[in-house]
């Protein structure tokens, strides 16, 4: 019965307040009257039961039952049932808004609550913390797939191109009062704000920016613009995030865009190939250069050494030669002749007596002597000698000369 008293107190207090607000004195009096009447009922009851003058004694209704007054009991039961309709539960994350005669007087936190029953007070429970989502440009179906809404997703960019943009807005409430009392159909307001905001932002941006590097920035700008718009309506909405689901060129131009992206990759590839070629030939060239230098140094050393060697050999022979010129000269001549004669094929022809033509089948001779010999040389060698030579030096001179380098080194150089 403790609560009962509180309730009555609350009731009378609020009534007085309400009366003060709008000031119809009749109303005030009316309630005072009602209160008096109610008091009287209890007083009568208590008087009958045993003179207990207390306003609200819990045992008294039972007493009145004993006295056999069922109408009073019925009234009380009806009253209690009426009182019981004032209980309500506010879920976690929600707020209860109590309206007394249509005016919001109290916001209640989660838990079991009680308000003065209808028609005095009513309650509206609003989920404040739940994250709500609005999808723009697409709709998720229950099966998990998405379907595109072209009317929403296609938009013009600042450079008069058309792009296809899909995004989701997530929001919760920062003020349940604003949410409940300031706007009709708040969800539609959010969608409207989302569409107008994204188009304003995209309309001021270039297509490439929206499609590639600027996605994040677009989302951020859209979020703040949306929040501005919704604050202007005092909607109580708090935008928590704007997430780009998809930003792409429209279907009609998709292929061309893909090709452009591929072209960019081609560019990189071609550059890399060029670089690879460079990386291949330059080290090789350095190698070749080193070889050339090394060879030149080798050549230099070789030719110098050869010269030194040849010079020193000549020097020594010259010393001996000056000591005995005649003998040395003859010796050298004969040794040379010996060496030559012992190695070459020889044909000795005496032509003094006969003037007749001599047939000398040199080609056959050559074939005989060297079956593995040099074929080209044979034709050259097939010169016929018809005339009689005279001196020894002539003999040697008359031989078909073959070009052999005087210095071995010269041959190497030619390479």
């Amino acid at each position: 019965m403790e609560t009962m008293r509180n309730i009555l107190k609350k009731l009378s207090l609020r009534n007085i307040l309400a009366a003060n607000n709008d000031g119809p004195p009749d109303l005030d009096e009316l309630f005072v009257d009602i209160k008096k009447k109610i008091d009287n009922v209890f007083n009568i009851k208590s008087g009958k039961s045993g003179g207990n003058g207390n306003l609200n004694n819990g045992k008294q209704p039972v007493n009145s039952n004993f006295d056999g007054i069922p109408t009073g009991t019925i009234l009380l039961v009806v009253f209690l049932i009426w009182m019981a309709t004032g209980f309500y539960i506010v879920d976690q994350g929600s707020r209860g808004l109590v309206l007394q005669f249509g005016k919001n007087t109290e916001i209640t936190q989660p838990g079991p609550r009680w308000h003065i029953p209808y028609p005095v007070e009513t309650v509206e429970i609003v989920n404040q913390e739940q994250v709500r989502t609005t999808e723009v440009g697409y709709r998720s179906s229950r099966s998990g797939g998405t379907s595109q809404e072209l009317r929403e997703s296609l938009m013009l960019t600042g450079d008069e191109n058309i792009i296809d943009l899909q995004f989701a807005v997530q929001y919760n409430l920062k003020s349940v009062q604003d949410y409940l009392f300031n706007n009709r159909s708040v969800e539609n307001s959010v969608r409207g704000a989302a569409e107008t905001a994204i188009r304003e932002v995209v309309g001021k941006s270039k297509m490439d920016f929206v499609l590639y590097e600027g996605r994040e920035e677009i989302a951020i700008k859209t979020k703040s613009l949306m929040q501005d718009i919704l604050d202007r309506y005092k909607s109580g909405i708090n935008i928590t995030s704007v997430t780009m689901q998809n930003a792409q060129p429209p279907e009609q131009v998709q292929a061309a865009f893909d090709d452009a992206v591929k072209a960019k990759q081609d560019l990189e590839r071609q550059k890399n190939e060029g670089q690879a070629y460079a990386n291949d030939i330059i080290p090789k060239a350095r190698g070749t250069a080193s070889r050339l230098i090394a060879e030149a140094n080798g050549y230099k050393a070789a030719i110098e050494n050869e010269a030194k060697g040849n010079a020193s050999r000549f020097d020594q022979i010259l010393t001996e030669y000056t000591r005995a010129p005649e003998v040395t000269r003859n010796r050298l001549f004969l040794e040379t002749q010996e060496q030559i004669m012992s190695s070459v094929s020889k044909v000795i022809v005496d032509q003094k007596g006969s003037n007749s033509l001599l047939y000398l089948p040199l080609d056959k001779l050559i074939n005989q002597k060297s079956s593995s010999g040099n074929q080209e040389d044979q034709t050259q060698a097939s010169n016929q000698r018809t005339n009689s030579g005279s001196s020894a030096s002539d003999v040697i001179n008359s031989i078909t000369e073959r070009s052999r380098g005087a210095f071995n080194a010269r041959e190497r150089d030619a390479r």
């Binding site: 309309g203 060029g274 044909v347 000795i348 040199l362």
Partner: protein
């Protein structure tokens, strides 16, 4: 007991009187009290109010902000004579219920029709002054502000405040969109071609540069090599000259012999000789010459 039943009767009677003679105004509503069709008072504040039973009639009007969203986008023509489809919405609110009631008979639809006419007139005027580009990007918010001001001024006469007019969508009609797509395709193609040519050019440049470097490296090395070889040749020449000039005649002889030896050294060399030569002088006879 009699008292109790009396009380019940009294309570019930009181309740009936109360319901007939009071009304509550929600925080979300305006209320207008009519007495036999005449407006006697407007209740803007929430709470419970008295009225004369049976004689007074109360009507409630929305106090919250409402949205008018035209079902179809409208066509407008921009200054460059291009068609655009514009989808807008209007946020409005009743601020003067009696004016509102008098002007549009308290009918939201009628109010919305009025608003949309005003806003469309505004749109037509503003779009006619601007190009698509200005409408879409440059002066979008200015247009919205102008429209709002204009609509607000007009709607005050019917007890309505315009909170906001916003362009939701400004789109090109289908046939214009097609040409935009074509242009976009062409642009991308140009970009792709440029990228590819650029790639080819870059690649060629890198290759040419590399080849140039290679040629320089090799020719420099060749030049150095030739220089070194020349030094070698020069030194060798000097050595030979120094030595051989000691006895020119003997060098001639000696060198010739060496050359002969080298020239005739194999069986494939055939010599056709005259027995009268010096070498065979003793082959002909032992006599001293």
């Amino acid at each position: 007991m009699k008292n109790v039943s009396k009380l019940a009767t009294v309570i019930i009677l009181l309740l009936i009187v109360l319901t007939l003679s009071t009304f509550t105004v929600d925080q979300r509503e305006h209320a207008i009290v009519f007495r036999l069709g005449e407006i006697v008072s407007v209740k803007d504040e929430p709470g419970i109010y008295l009225k004369a039973p049976l004689v007074d009639n109360v009507r409630f009007f929305e106090k919250r902000i409402m949205t008018y969203d035209p079902p179809q986008p409208d066509r407008f023509i921009t200054s460059e004579k291009k068609n655009v489809l514009v989808d807008s919405y209007i946020k409005w609110r009743i601020i003067d219920p009696s004016q509102y009631y008098v002007s549009v008979n308290g009918d939201e639809r009628q109010a919305e029709r009025r608003l949309s006419q005003t806003v469309n007139d505004g749109l037509r005027a503003e779009f006619g002054k601007r190009t698509i580009l200005e409408v879409v990007s440059g002066e979008r918010s200015e247009i919205m502000d102008i429209l709002k001001e204009r609509a607000d001024r007009d709607s005050r006469q019917i007890g309505i405040e315009i909170i906001d007019v916003r362009l939701r969508r400004v789109d090109l009609p289908q046939e214009v969109s097609e040409s935009v797509y074509q242009r976009m395709n062409a642009e991308r193609k140009a970009v792709a071609n440029e990228l590819r040519s650029q790639g080819f050019a870059d690649s060629e440049k890198i290759r040419a540069e590399a080849e140039r470097e290679r040629d320089i490296i090799i020719t420099e090395a060749y030049s150095d090599a030739q220089k070194v070889k020349g030094e070698g040749d020069a030194k060798a020449s000097r050595i030979y000259a120094d030595t051989f000039s000691k006895n020119k005649e003997f060098y001639d002889f000696y060198r010739s012999l060496e050359a002969y030896r080298k020239s005739f050294s194999g069986k494939e060399d055939i010599m056709v000789l005259d027995p009268n030569s010096d070498f065979f002088k003793y082959l002909r006879g032992p006599s001293k010459k």
